[in-house]
């Protein structure tokens, strides 16, 4: 399970979300899935079961670590916790255009993050383009 953080205030939340979709749809379609983070907040039994019975990677926009903390509030310890802001610090030239409309630099960062996550779960990175 890859759980992005639902960030809506800045672009980092959207970058984590888009990296998750890239993993699910393009890079590791058979190995990665997600669910709504907010379902954990209402204690949805199916979502909580999914979290408890699978390897979980959280992708947080910022240091508030909402995805990690919400996953861990179910009693599950996350297997890996990633922050988009840290990826951005290594690629400061890739400044997203807007909060949801990331523009070309933002999508480059999405790709870098998705590839890093794919390697972390031993998912063969496919040749693209």
């Amino acid at each position: 399970m890859v759980m992005p953080c639902s960030g809506i205030g800045k672009a980092y939340g959207e970058i984590g979300r888009q990296a998750t979709y890239a993993l699910m749809d393009d890079l590791c379609p058979d190995r990665v899935t997600t669910t709504c983070l907010a379902k954990l907040m209402i204690g949805d039994p199916d979502a909580v079961d999914l979290i408890k019975n699978n390897e979980v990677i959280t992708v947080d926009g910022c240091a508030h670590d909402c995805a990690r903390k919400n996953v861990e509030s179910t009693g599950k310890k996350v297997d890996r916790a990633v922050r988009v802001i840290s990826a951005f610090k290594q690629h400061r030239d890739l400044k997203p255009a807007g909060v949801l409309d990331l523009g070309e630099p933002g999508y480059k960062l999405v790709k870098i993050l998705a590839q890093d996550l794919a390697q972390g779960i031993d998912c063969p990175v496919r040749k693209e383009d």
């Binding site: 709504c36 907010a38 907040m41």
Partner: protein, 141 residues
């Protein structure tokens, strides 16, 4: 002599909290529609907060719905934003559920949670207008 009292008038702010559901296209719609209201339709009168901060954040974050009259926007009938806002912050003034709204208007949900296509922009506009209407109602109170 005429005495004037200077009163600072700051615009009233309304809180908007989308559920941001990652799994469903309707969750993506909540994000785009809320951002449209925040950035284009009512930029001076609206504020938002990342919903999971009600658990991950502190007292200040949890006071959001007490500080601002709030509208929750949920992708589906699970109503994660309404339930969590009510439980952890304060009772929202209005709650919008996208699946109900689309049904009411005979509109199909977007095909993907990942990307919205041009056709979905009309749906975003519809939801955003509905949110903006509720913002106006609160501002007029």
């Amino acid at each position: 002599m005429l005495e004037l009292e200077l009163v600072e008038i700051s615009p009233k702010k309304v809180g908007i909290i989308p559920c941001n559901g990652e799994e469903l296209p309707e969750g993506t719609l909540t994000r785009f529609a809320c951002r449209k209201v925040l950035d284009k339709l009512k930029p001076s009168n609206t504020v938002t907060i990342c919903l999971p901060l009600f658990i991950a954040g502190g007292k200040e974050e949890r006071e959001f719905a007490q500080k601002f009259p709030t509208i929750t926007v949920d992708g589906c009938d699970k109503q994660c934003s309404r339930i969590n806002t009510e439980r952890l912050s304060g009772k929202p003034r209005h709650s919008i559920v996208i699946t109900d709204l689309l049904k009411e208007h005979g509109i199909n949900a977007p095909g993907s949670a990942r990307t919205l296509v041009d056709m979905d922009r009309q749906t975003v506009d519809l939801v955003a207008k509905e949110i903006a209407k509720k913002v106006d109602q609160i501002l007029a109170e």
